[in-house]
Amino acid sequence: MTRVASFEIECIGFIDAEGKATGDLPDFAADRDVLVELYRWMVLTRTFDAKAIALQRTGRLGTYASTLGQEAVSVGLAHAMAPDDVLLPSFREHGAQLVRGVTMTELFVYWGGDERGSDFAGPRQDFPVCIPVGGHAPHAAGAALAFKLRDEKRVAVCVFGDGATSKGDVYEAMNVAGVWTLPAVFIANNNQWAISVPRRAQTAARTLAQKAVAAGFPGLQVDGNDVVAVRDAVAGALDRARAGDGPTLIEAITYRLGDHTTVDDASRYRDDETVGRHWKEEPIVRLRKYLTASHGWTKQDEETLIETCRSDVEAAAEAYLAMAPAPVEGIFDNLYAELPAELREQRQAMLAEGD
């Protein structure tokens, strides 16, 4: 019996649920402005989220997936990225998309059921959200391969949920990223639930980070409610990728505080008590406490921020609601670069039919 390989999974965190530093913070976190920026993005994300739910409840938005409680993962990872890196988000990374430069109006437009919402004016090469769970992981490998082949120092950042780690396409994508040493970062946003299926029913693996062992590259855990830890871990993985050392899998441990989507009723499968416990760990309060204690964040600062976020969100919502409807021709006109002759008649028929 010979030992031929051994592996270890580590977990990192810097600011605990009480808002206390548990050790030395990474360099970037010494800068108050950076911390405030991270905080602002998280608050904006939460404000946006609440508005989206309100719009859905009043019939002005389609089914929507709330990111409540997961803001640190989303904001932290995107904040670590360089502008010309590429984000491949799941359907719950509104925070990351906002940090990347997707506008709130675009997000409303998409979730309002209009393709124009995925035609981002800002990050032109970021991928649209991926509804089929995990289906974007192979795209991330492809994008990373494109960067590697062109010798660009860019990284493809792919985010998916705990449930997605059970999917074969995610595994295949991670495996090829490993063997081709691709500049990719995979982030498992472990919010403990895949709709009603809890994390423990998804896999016997003790951590999701260890899924990387099968693909032959490093995996690590991070406290996903600590935005400093998320940003730090992702920055490290991005550096590794940019240096040509290949991919990393980061499991960010957080909790889905809301329903799965606006058509879900989480009370069918989990109790309020458990959720209540997790409210004590959520990412925004802890960073506020830390800012207050260490950087003189005041009540006034807080109120100003909340008010700015609120009015920004309202403005975006109004822009969304005021938008002219999409031209119906878009159904045909974006299908191919050039509409094949045989479809011209169908297009005509559609237009003739009217609304």
Partner: protein, 344 residues
């Protein structure tokens, strides 16, 4: 397989609702429960089919009644959901697997084409595959991207399987029982637009309806309207509108796309000479093509007018804001009916 905490306190549909009849969701739920009761090899599996009762509640209450050994929440692994039942079925179970939305069924095609459909013929009958694969499908409920497609034609082309699509609660009940009892793999697609659109009395008597048979939903001698699933609704509405103009449309619910009961359709067209096929799926390569092709073959001599196909456009299903411009409407059906009637 984890222990199930019985949190779900919501009650069964109330008595008075039941008196008003069952929805399609209720009917399938009853059929599943009935099949599980009469045959302990019947088990249900899929994503969120357990305590959540499925995202549309089709499996609501089954885990409470039959336990977590017979109602299994799988990991989020569609390929597995296609392949696991093949192993179960070969070893004597009758699994009923759910794919949460048809938009996520494509990874399963490999298992259906390469394994489920041919286990019997590959082994000359030594191992078989009595499984049912359920999935809600179709548009019109303003669902998110990838949740509204109709790709039944892909399955209709696969030898060795059966393909069933119910159009009403009663038919759903009887066809589901038949699908589960069938000794071969059955794909069972559920038109989610009409999951709760109508109620009708359904007696939970364990009686199956035959697979491989069309239903004549309305009699008529002037033209034949062939459809399935949710589009039966528009087809029946169009037929009613035509009746106001003294045109009697015969409406046929295909119900079993594979095997196809072409006899019933041919008999109708022999009588009417005019036929239209209505489906939500894109026109080109949709299952309407197969029916029209058979009419162009064996049915040609009956045709008094070109066969009309009213279908989804050959485009990607638009997001909710424009999906109504994609879905075949009563207006589109009536337009085609007029063209049919103009002839000869």
């Amino acid at each position: 397989m984890a222990a199930v905490k019985q949190k779900n306190k919501r009650k069964r549909p109330k008595r008075d609702a039941e008196a008003a009849g069952l929805t399609l969701v209720d009917a399938i739920n009853r059929a599943l429960a009935r099949a599980m009761e009469e045959d302990e090899t019947v088990i249900v599996l899929g994503e969120d089919v357990g305590i959540d009762g499925g995202v549309f509640r089709v499996t609501d209450g089954l885990i409470a009644r039959f336990g977590d050994q017979r109602v299994l929440d799988t990991p989020l692994s569609e390929t597995l959901i296609g392949g696991l039942p093949v192993g179960l079925a070969a070893m004597g179970f009758r699994p009923v697997a759910e794919i949460q939305f048809m938009g996520f069924i494509y990874p399963v095609i490999d298992q259906i084409v390469n394994h489920a459909s041919r286990m019997r013929t590959r082994t000359r009958g030594r191992l078989t595959c009595p499984m049912v694969l359920r999935a809600p499908y179709g548009g019109g409920i303003h669902a998110p991207e990838h949740h509204s497609e109709s790709m039944e034609a892909m399955f209709a082309h696969v030898p060795g399987i059966k393909l069933v699509i119910p159009s009403s609660p009663a038919r759903a009940y009887g066809l589901m029982l038949a699908a589960i009892r069938d000794p071969d793999p059955v794909i069972f697609l559920e038109p989610k637009r009409i999951y709760r659109a109508v109620r009708e009395p359904v007696s939970d008597d364990g009686k199956a309806l035959p697979l491989g048979k069309c239903f004549v939903s309305r009699k008529g001698a002037d033209l034949t309207l062939v459809s399935w699933g949710a589009m039966l609704k528009e087809s029946m509405e169009a037929a009613a509108a035509l009746a106001d103009e003294r045109v009697e449309a015969e409406v046929i619910d295909v119900a079993s796309l594979k095997p196809l009961d072409m006899g019933t359709i041919l008999a109708s067209v022999e009588k009417t000479g005019r036929c239209m096929i209505v489906h939500e799926a894109p026109l080109t390569g949709g299952f309407g093509a197969e029916i029209a092709a058979r009419l162009a073959g064996e049915g040609l001599m009956s045709l008094l007018a070109p066969v009309e196909r009213v279908a989804g456009w050959d485009t990607v299903m638009p997001l909710p804001r424009l999906e109504h411009r994609y879905m075949p409407s009563v207006r589109r059906i009536l337009g085609a009916a007029r063209r049919l009637l103009e002839h000869g």
